[in-house]
């Protein structure tokens, strides 16, 4: 239980310590984050399967809000992937950020990012999941905007934050709906209620669609894709982490975690499939024409996540989880290798790179391995997971199978083009021959190793780690077709990619411009609306001030009435009574005969009155 709690807390603790004491440490706090995440990985290995820890946050009537962590097969698996990638990326980050004075802030934000992601994954309560989800969003905002002085960084960070936030509204509404339907925030209770049919089908569909919006925002699916390529202005370790394990994986993970809810909502599954398919094809096409190495990889991430969404939409949760892990390994490798190239060349523009295989053999080899893995070349990791997705898709008919084959083909094309443009040919940059830090090489090497063998291990001896039930194997013809498509794509990319020219002509670039314009328009409208809200707010302010003024005036008037009216009235009454008393005093003259006369006159009058009354 302590181990379970330690998993998300250790990176967070490391983050706080790095921020406080990073300035005095030789690696600027990076060693703390690396150690923290590595310890979480150890704790993750130690924690027994099925361990849970739940506390009631508060109860209100029939509603019971819990907060807790659980180590189910799925959460353990994804958490291991996250922590494993994060250790390698943080190690790389130590070298990448070497010598910079603002390192502690970077490592603190990185630790927050990883810790929040681990909390998100292990959470067994929708409330905690949502909180961690927002924390991941916040950390990504901070990290994308880390170089806030660089042009475009602040804009890209805000874009990422706001676009994912648009999806997060869906997640918020979704889990509130789940709370209303089941009375608890427990994920397992929700899954049980949905499976037992205790929740109305309409509510399940609405819930699934709302949560899908959150997942699409986080995983940069259409129409929320535009933030992901722009997020490339962040430091390379951030890109690597953001694109592989921590940020974008959250969307896919959410669908996996709420598998029971989605399985009961065919409409949401169909939406998942179609959004995934459109995003995957669109993003892959854009990636073939993108002129920036890291942006190629970003669009590739969109495409690969779309592929996972396709698999999820077809009910292939195991294949999607498998691909999530494998993709995390090879995509982070690609980013780290690209980061090494960028550091050496001083640019990421594909038409100014080239010939780095000789200058940076390690980065080149890592990139090659990861690219082949992405293209699905056996026996590298991508082959195994794409085979799984292919199997799921081909079971659903030739159309879905053909879609996945097309995606493999496009994947091979864009990554072949990017690799060729960056590593083959001759050097075109004028940069010197600096030395790459050993930590950067170590992180890249470890991830490249994972990209090479992870698929084989998970498909074979470590298959028990994968969550969900195993599927029957793919048909051989489609498997061969997949391999052929990957190789063909690589061939096209290598053949046409020299010098960084677009592999399939320049038209896909226009797609990206179109999307950018299409997503910019609502943002512009929102901005204008917000501007228009300003005067309205001023008017409200003025009205409130006027009401306050009136109240003040009324208070003043009441005070005046009190002083002039009541007080004067009281004074007058008192004075009148006093004067009456004075006048009455005159009767009391102290003259005995007057008293006696009064007495007798009174007695006579009384007797006379009595006699008159009693007269018969």
């Amino acid at each position: 239980m302590t181990a379970l709690l330690a998993i998300p807390l250790l990176p967070l603790l490391a983050a706080v310590t790095a921020l406080a004491a990073g300035r005095r440490l030789p690696w600027g706090g990076g060693e703390l984050v690396v150690a923290g995440v590595a310890l979480s990985l150890v704790a993750l290995a130690l924690v027994p399967a099925g361990a849970t820890m739940t506390v009631t946050w508060f109860e209100s009537g029939d509603y019971r809000l819990t907060v807790g962590l659980a180590a189910t097969p799925l959460t353990r698996f994804v958490a291991m992937v996250v922590a494993g990638v994060a250790v390698c990326v943080a190690t790389y980050g130590v070298g990448y950020m070497g010598g910079r004075p603002d390192r502690p802030r970077f490592f603190a934000e990185l630790g927050l990012f990883v810790g929040a992601m681990l909390a998100l994954i292990l959470a067994n309560s929708l409330a905690l999941l949502f909180a961690a989800w927002e924390m991941v969003g916040l950390a990504s905002f901070l990290l994308i905007g880390f170089e806030h002085a660089a042009p475009g960084a602040a804009g890209a960070a805000s874009k990422a934050f706001l676009m994912t936030r648009a999806g997060d509204v869906g997640l918020l509404l979704g889990w509130l709906l789940a709370l209303a339907a089941t009375g608890t925030t427990d994920v397992d209770a929700l899954a049980g209620a949905v499976e037992a049919g205790r929740v109305a089908p309409g509510a399940v569909t609405a819930m699934a669609l709302l949560m899908l919006a959150g997942a699409l925002g986080k995983s940069a699916q259409l129409p929320f894709s535009a933030w992901l390529p722009d997020a490339m202005v962040g430091p390379t370790p951030v890109s690597a982490l953001l694109h592989s394990a921590t940020m974008v994986a959250a969307g896919v993970f959410l669908v996996l975690r709420l598998d029971a809810v989605f399985a009961a909502a065919p409409l949401a599954m169909a939406a998942l499939f179609w959004v995934g398919a459109v995003t995957a094809v669109f993003a892959a096409l854009v990636a073939t024409a993108e002129a920036d190495l890291k942006r190629v990889l970003a669009w590739s991430t969109c495409s690969q996540l779309g592929e996972m969404m396709v698999a999820l939409g077809l009910g292939g949760a195991r294949a999607a989880a498998f691909h999530l892990a494998v993709h995390a390994a090879f995509k982070s490798t690609l980013f780290l290798a690209a980061g090494i190239v960028q550091e050496r060349a001083g640019t990421r523009a594909l038409d100014r790179l080239g010939g780095f295989l000789r200058a940076l053999p390690l980065a080149g080899a890592a990139f090659l391995v990861a690219a082949l893995a992405l293209a699905g070349v056996p026996p590298l990791s991508g082959f195994w997971s794409e085979e799984g997705i292919l199997a799921v898709a081909s079971q659903h008919g030739p159309g879905a199978g053909a879609l996945v084959v097309l995606l493999v083909l496009l994947g091979g094309t864009y990554i072949g083009r990017a690799g060729t443009a960056a590593f083959l040919g001759r050097r075109r940059d004028r940069a010197g021959t600096g030395k790459t830090a050993w930590t950067m090489r170590a992180g890249t090497l470890a991830l490249a190793l994972a990209a090479a063998v992870l698929g084989w291990l998970l498909a074979g001896s470590l298959g028990a780690l994968l969550p969900f039930e195993a599927d029957p194997g793919a048909e051989v013809s489609l498997r061969n077709l997949g391999i052929a498509a990957g190789l063909l794509g690589l061939g096209i990319g290598v053949a046409r990619g020299r010098g960084g020219s677009p592999a399939l002509g320049p038209w896909p670039a226009r797609l990206a411009a179109g999307l950018s314009a299409a997503t910019a328009a609502p943002a512009r409208w929102t901005t204008q609306l917000a501007r228009r809200l300003g005067p309205l707010e001023d008017a409200l302010d003025a009205a409130a001030r006027r009401v306050a003024g009136w109240t003040w005036g009324a208070g003043e008037a009441a005070g005046r009435i009190e002083v002039r009216g009541f007080a004067r009235l009281g004074d007058g009454l008192a004075a009148w009574l006093a004067a009456g008393g004075e006048r009455l005093r005159a009767l009391q003259a102290g003259r005995l005969y007057l008293y006696t006369l009064g007495l007798f006159a009174w007695a006579t009058a009384a007797l006379a009155a009595g006699a008159l009354l009693l007269w018969p």
Partner: protein, 103 residues
């Protein structure tokens, strides 16, 4: 010959009138006190006369008459004591000199 009730009542009324006049008109505190005594005795005469002519067997009227005399004696004692004190203090028995004793 018997003296009729009316005669008693007339005498009592005269006594009462003399008493009232004395109390109202006399300036001397001693004379005022004497007027009060006359008033009391007028009432006493009335009481005795009514008893004698209406209910001679009922002795409660005699008790009332003795009570009136007793009260008169006590009143006189207290009244004279007060006047004596006032005289010692102010060297006069004129009631007009006592007007500053009002409330």
């Amino acid at each position: 010959m018997t003296v009729p009730l009316t005669a008693y009542l007339v005498v009592a009324a005269l006594l009462f009138a003399i008493g009232v006049y004395t109390v109202v008109a006399q300036r001397s505190a001693v004379m005022v006190l004497m007027g009060v005594e006359v008033l009391l005795n007028a009432i006493g005469l009335n009481v005795v006369a009514f008893w004698r002519f209406t209910a001679p067997t009922d002795y409660s009227a005699q008790v009332l008459a003795i009570l009136v005399v007793t009260v008169g004696a006590i009143e006189m004692a207290i009244g004279l004591a007060l006047v004596l004190l006032l005289y010692r203090q102010r060297r006069t028995v004129e009631v007009d000199a006592y007007t500053d004793l009002n409330g």
